[in-house]
Assembly symmetry: C2
Homo-oligomer: 271 residues x 2
DNA sequence: GCACACCATTGATCGAGATCAATGCCCGCT
DNA sequence: AGCGGGCATTGATCTCGATCAATGGTGTGC
């Protein structure tokens, strides 16, 4: 909660000052900062045109001219780990594209039980909401960069560029398919199957931009993984150990996982 | 699989014969059958205009003229319980609106473990898919009626009527929010909490057209409920018994549940 | 009316993963 | 260097829901 207040205040101040790139939490300054006014300065359009996920994100459905319109109100933001993009129940006022790092979404029960409902990596779109309010919270898992779009203005862009709404619907369908997979995992898979499925998912979804194709950098803690897989940290930890013993993976520190046998993981993922 | 073949064959023959209302499985004949050719006959447009879910479904985003275009290629179909609308892995060739009864979607593991990923009631839209193939199967839970739309022609309608795509995106967002709730349920809730949550969900989603507002007619078996909640039939059955003992519900046969204490269920749903 | 198949319920037992508990590691801070 | 907090790992034990098993109910077709 306090995170959000802080972020919002920072945003407000920054808008007053005419800076489009936000920083929140403990994030360090960033090399690609730039300033803008109400209309798109060349540098701001460049921000979008030179975006690292230009061809991955929903924006890829727009041509350079159209991107210019979007660029007029995009706000680049940086969050450090643990800080909230938005919180369940908040008015849904913005949507986001992840440009760097990973975002996790979650739901909480009154007694503190938590379910992480999804991870979003560079190029992914976060914040689709039907009603007035957010149905879940979104939080930075490690330092991230996102593009923030005001929801109303974004909706307006969608009206103008049907291609983009179409693309967004595709994205939503994808997310829905992923959700179905996750329900199967949560409802019917064993701990081993869950972790193996998870590792293969991360493998697949981060393949495009990894340095070493066999080393997964997990931006989340064991607790996060547990809350995503419907397990406890202890079980996740034990299962990692089993996979190490079985020779499926090798650990390099606790965040990096070297995949030794994709086949082993694939077998483990389906019993 | 054989179900589908049968349905598809029936569909093909019926189209040859110029009948737009299909019947599959053991479904009885229906009082509102009608015939049509390639273009919309008045009666077919009427089919849509007089549709019981006209104001509930995605079609509600279209005016009477626009509905006419949709009506040109809608196919009314009737399925009896257990028959498949489509199967995971099949080419995604059609989308559906439920007009009567309930549809369930599910995923299977190679060894037969099953997870039901959603129930769809009158007015709901089923069959959103991004890729070429269905990401899950859909099956009639009890006798149902649906409107079937060829996917390509439906996509074309979406291009023509942006309102409808917008509405569909809303629908998808809703479904996504429901999926998040279900992940919380499957990952973190106890058996009691799951069943209570389920009963309240059915209560809410079927409220609009129930005869008796306190009696839920469950169109699915205990096994279906179990596969939806990530439990076994035995546990579902035991939990029903507990709710009966606690006075939250009363049974009238096995398919009908009279809600005696919504408050009791609400408490049970969150521990 | 009877046989069969399927479904729901209840009881007894088992086991995967939760819970409780202890230890070690790493990193930032003083 | 020394301290403290968060995270990961490992061990011991417990518990909720799964599994195995038996029975009764219901509807369908012969």
């Amino acid at each position: 909660m306090s995170h959000l207040d802080k972020a919002d205040t920072a945003l407000f101040m920054s808008q007053l000052l005419g800076h489009a790139l936000e920083m929140t939490g403990t994030a360090k300054d960033t090399s690609c900062g730039f300033s803008c006014g109400d209309t798109a300065l060349p540098s701001q359009v460049d921000h979008c045109l030179q975006c690292p996920v230009r061809d991955l994100a929903v924006c890829s459905s727009l041509n350079d001219d159209e991107i210019g319109q979007l660029a007029q109100f995009v706000v680049g933001q940086e969050f450090s780990g643990g800080h909230d993009l938005f919180v369940e129940g908040d008015p849904a006022s913005a949507v986001y594209t992840v440009t760097e790092g990973a975002v996790k979404t979650h739901k909480l029960m009154p007694d503190g039980r938590r379910q992480i409902t999804g991870f979003f990596f560079a190029g992914d779109f976060v914040g689709l909401a039907h009603g007035e309010n957010c149905a879940y919270s979104a939080e930075a898992a490690g330092t991230i960069r996102v593009c923030r779009f005001d929801r109303k203005r974004f909706d307006h862009v969608l009206d103008e560029f049907p291609k983009m709404r179409s693309r967004l619907l595709s994205e939503a369908s994808d997310e829905l398919a992923a959700a179905h997979n996750q329900m199967l995992l949560l409802g019917r898979k064993t701990a081993k199957e869950r972790l193996a499925t998870f590792l293969l998912m991360v493998d697949q979804r981060t393949a495009q931009w990894r340095k070493d194709e066999d080393v997964l950098e997990l931006p989340m803690t064991r607790g996060d993984i547990a809350d995503y897989l419907g397990l406890t940290t202890e079980t996740v930890s034990r299962t990692f150990t089993q996979f190490r013993s079985a020779g499926y993976i090798a650990a390099q520190g606790t965040q990096d996982v070297k995949v030794l046998s994709r086949e082993g993981l694939e077998d483990a993922a389906e019993g």
